[in-house]
Structures are given as C-alpha cells and as structure tokens.
C-alpha cells in the first residue's frame, strides 16, 4: 500500500519537525487572525448599523453572494501585481474574503431582533446606540458569531494558499513538495486542518455560551 507508507512517513515527519510545523502554524494563525481583525473592524460597524436601520437588504445579500463567488486564488493573484509579493497582498486578499460573511451575518443578526424588544427599549429612553449595544447586539450575538466562524474558516483556508505566494506559514511547506516531500506536505496539511478546526470550535463554544445566556431559563 503506497498510501499506508505515506501516512507512516507523515507520522514520522511530525515529531522530527515539530518546531518547524509549530512555527509555520503560528505564522498562518498570525496572518489569519490579523486579517480577521481588520475584516471585523470594517464589516461589523457597517453590518450592525444597516441592520439597526433596517436598510440595505439587497446590499447585504449581494455582498454575501459576491463574497462567496470571489475565487480565492484569483484574488491573491490579482493583488500580487498591485501590492507586490509578501504580507500586504495576502492581507488585502484575506480581508476582502473575511468581510462578506461578517457583514451579512451582523446585518441579519440585528435586523432579525424582535421589533417589540427594540420598541420597549426606545420607550425606556435608550438612545439608538444604546439600543444597538444593549438590546440588539446581545440578542443577535449567536448569529453574528456564526458569521465570524464562516469568515475564520474562509480566511484560514485562503491564508494557506497565500503561503504559496510568499505569505509564509504552512502553505509554504504545502507548496514546496520538492524540499519537504509528500510526508511534509501532508503533515502541514494536517496542522492547518487542526488550526481551522480548533479556531472554529473555539468560536462555536463562545456561540453556545451566548446562546445559553439569552435562553429564557436563565
């Protein structure tokens, strides 16, 4: 079995190059989380405000479809001639991919909050910003976090591809079978899969906690 021996080689590669793999995982994580941070800073205010105003439904839907339609490889390739090989082109591509799911989910999270709850808050004399922060945001938090989770999965997947175009991280190993052999490529693939799963699980855990907090039993 060719497949069997390859996987054995992979299992051997991991302890021998644990330091390298962890370093590269750190690089991929750093790039991904930086991009997610920038995407959050851009998408969250726009999505929340549009949702609060109940305006821009078609904008929110359009951004979401367009975000899914953008081919990741083409996007990185597109930014290469503009920003050169390195950190900036990859960061730009990742931010562009991270914005749509966060924006759309933030919009629908706030937009879907019951009108009665918002009316009651307004009747109590809360300002629009207070309504958004104290009523709509807590109630919409699970849906918003679902969007963040999708964005995180997107961004980590693309950060891996970015590694091949000089972005560093695990993609660098995956794109260089000549140096690292198939066992190294597979080991790096396992590490990036683990990174994505752990990130998604962490966000899912927060999502669960947010969900439980707003359920009527408490």
């Amino acid at each position: 079995m060719i497949a069997g021996s390859t996987f054995l080689d992979t299992l051997r590669f991991i302890p021998h190059h644990a330091g390298l793999l962890l370093d590269k995982t750190g690089e991929t994580a750093e790039l991904s989380f930086a991009a997610l941070g920038v995407a959050l800073a851009i998408a969250l205010p726009i999505g929340l405000w549009l949702g609060h105003k109940h305006r821009g439904l078609f904008f929110a839907l359009g951004v979401s479809t367009l975000g899914r339609a953008l081919p990741t490889v083409a996007l990185i390739a597109f930014f290469l001639p503009l920003l050169g090989i390195g950190l900036w082109n990859n960061l730009a591509a990742l931010v562009v991919l991270g914005v749509p799911p966060i924006l759309t989910n933030a919009y629908f999270a706030v937009e879907g909050v019951e009108a009665d709850a918002v009316e009651a808050a307004r009747g109590m004399g809360l300002t629009e910003l207070q309504i958004l922060a104290r009523v709509e945001l807590p109630l919409g938090l699970p849906l918003l976090l679902a969007g963040l989770r999708i964005a995180a999965v997107f961004v980590i997947a693309t950060a891996t591809i970015a590694g091949i175009f000089g972005g560093g991280g695990l993609g660098e190993i995956i794109g260089d079978q000549g140096s690292y052999r198939l066992s190294g490529v597979l080991a790096a693939s396992l590490f990036v899969a683990a990174l994505a799963l752990l990130t998604a699980l962490a966000i899912a855990a927060v999502q669960r906690a947010a969900y439980r907090r707003m359920s009527p039993s408490t």
């Binding site: 990741t72 390739a77 993609g171 995956i174 693939s189 396992l190």
Partner: protein, 237 residues
C-alpha cells in the same frame, strides 16, 4: 506541488502586442488570440467540475437528509461530520486525498463534493422540518399515507430552502474549484497559475478570475429562475 517553481520563467507576453509587452491589465488582442486555446477550454472544464460536484453532492446530501429527517438520532452526527469536512482548508483537503486517489479528477471531485454536503444537508433538513404541523395534520385528514405526505406535501414545500442551498453550494464550488489547479491542470485556476508563472501576466490572471466570478453569478441567476419555475405558488402572494 512546486508548480510555481517548476521550469524556467518564459514571459510569453514579451513577443506579443505592445499591451502584452507592457503587461497591461486588459490586453484585448491577447484575449482574442487565446480565448479558443486557453480560456474557453478552462471555462468548460470548470463548468464540468462544478456540475459533477454539485450534482453528486446533492444526491448524497438528499439521501443523508432523508436519514436525518426520518431518524432524528442520525441528524447530529451527520451534521457534525459535514461541519468538520467544511472546516478543513481546501488546499489541505486536496493534499490529504492525494495519497489515496492520486493527482486525479477524483481527488478534486471528492474534495469539492465534501464541501457541498455541509450546505446542502443543512438546508434540505431545515426545509423539510419547516413544514407547519397544521399542513401535515390536514394531509393526514385527507387520508394521505406517510409516503404520499412526503412526496406531495413536505418535499414541494421544502423546495425553496433546497434551492437556496443549491445556490450557495454552486457559487462556493465555482470559487473553490479554482484551487483544483494545484492538483490537476484543469479549470479556471489553470490560466491563473500560468499567468503567475509567466511573470505575473495580468491580463490572463484577471480574465480567468473575472470568468470565474461571472460563472458563479450566472449559475446563481439560473438557479434563481429555476427556483421560481419550480414553485409557481410562491408568486401568487
């Protein structure tokens, strides 16, 4: 895998028109010359990759959704499994499949299909579950059997959710299929890689990227029209 490093870099645009020699963003003469031998075949391959992935993915998801809908016990494990597959980065999933199925179309399709499962399964089950109890009650009152109720009542009412899932799955698959060019020289990812190898030939990269976006949006529009045709009752209100 080191397809980017492979071979000497020969900038093909150095011989073409002045636009190509200057590596312009949109050299129409290059597009005219290479539509037939580069872009069109890649587009056709891309459509094939997508149609097979979404078609097979839909078949599998539908069967899984039937199981998850009928036996609630299966719902959670199937959902979690599909969720896990969806979370694995595409490049990693392609690579992890290579020792099993080689550098083949099979590898690409298995990965693309597994990404559609998460979206399609969730949507089909949600659609079937959303049928109101009163509707099921009246179906039973009319003397419909369980199977008849499913085929004539639950399934048609689930069509909008099902089509919404198909739209998302199709658009996502068109996008992810560009990554397939890491494994096989097919689809719109291929001209993008060639453009990258040939000293970042912008026209080729941009044209293939735009074609992929256009294909995704075009497929989305087609599915919207199909959904409207399949649910004539939804236009009455």
């Amino acid at each position: 895998m080191s397809r980017l490093a492979a071979g000497p870099i020969i900038p093909s645009f150095s011989q073409g028109s002045s636009c190509e020699r200057n590596n312009g963003w949109f050299c129409t003469d290059w597009l005219h010359q290479h539509w037939g031998d580069t872009l069109q075949p890649a587009l056709v391959q891309h459509v094939e990759l997508t149609v097979i992935a979404v078609g097979v993915g839909f078949g599998i998801s539908f069967l899984l959704a039937l199981a998850g809908f009928r036996f609630r016990l299966f719902d959670l494990p199937i959902g979690v499994f599909a969720d896990l597959l969806y979370t694995i980065p595409s490049l990693a999933l392609f690579q992890l499949l290579v020792p099993l199925t080689g550098l083949t179309v099979t590898t690409v399709e298995v990965a693309l299909i597994s990404y559609t499962l998460f979206i399609l399964y969730r949507n089909i089950v949600a659609g079937l579950r959303a049928v109101p109890d009163e509707v099921l009650e009246s179906a039973r009152g009319m003397g419909l059997t369980r199977l008849q109720t499913f085929i004539r009542v639950e399934l048609p009412l689930a069509v909008p959710a099902l089509m919404a899932g198909l739209r998302i799955a199709t658009v996502s698959t068109v996008s992810i299929a560009t990554v397939a060019a890491f494994v096989i020289p097919e689809g719109l990812g291929e001209p993008i890689f060639t453009g990258l190898q040939e000293d970042l030939f912008k026209t080729e990269i941009l044209a293939a990227g735009l074609l992929a976006v256009a294909l995704a949006l075009g497929a989305d529009l087609l599915l919207v029209l199909l959904a409207r045709a399949l649910t004539p009752w939804s236009r009455l209100t």
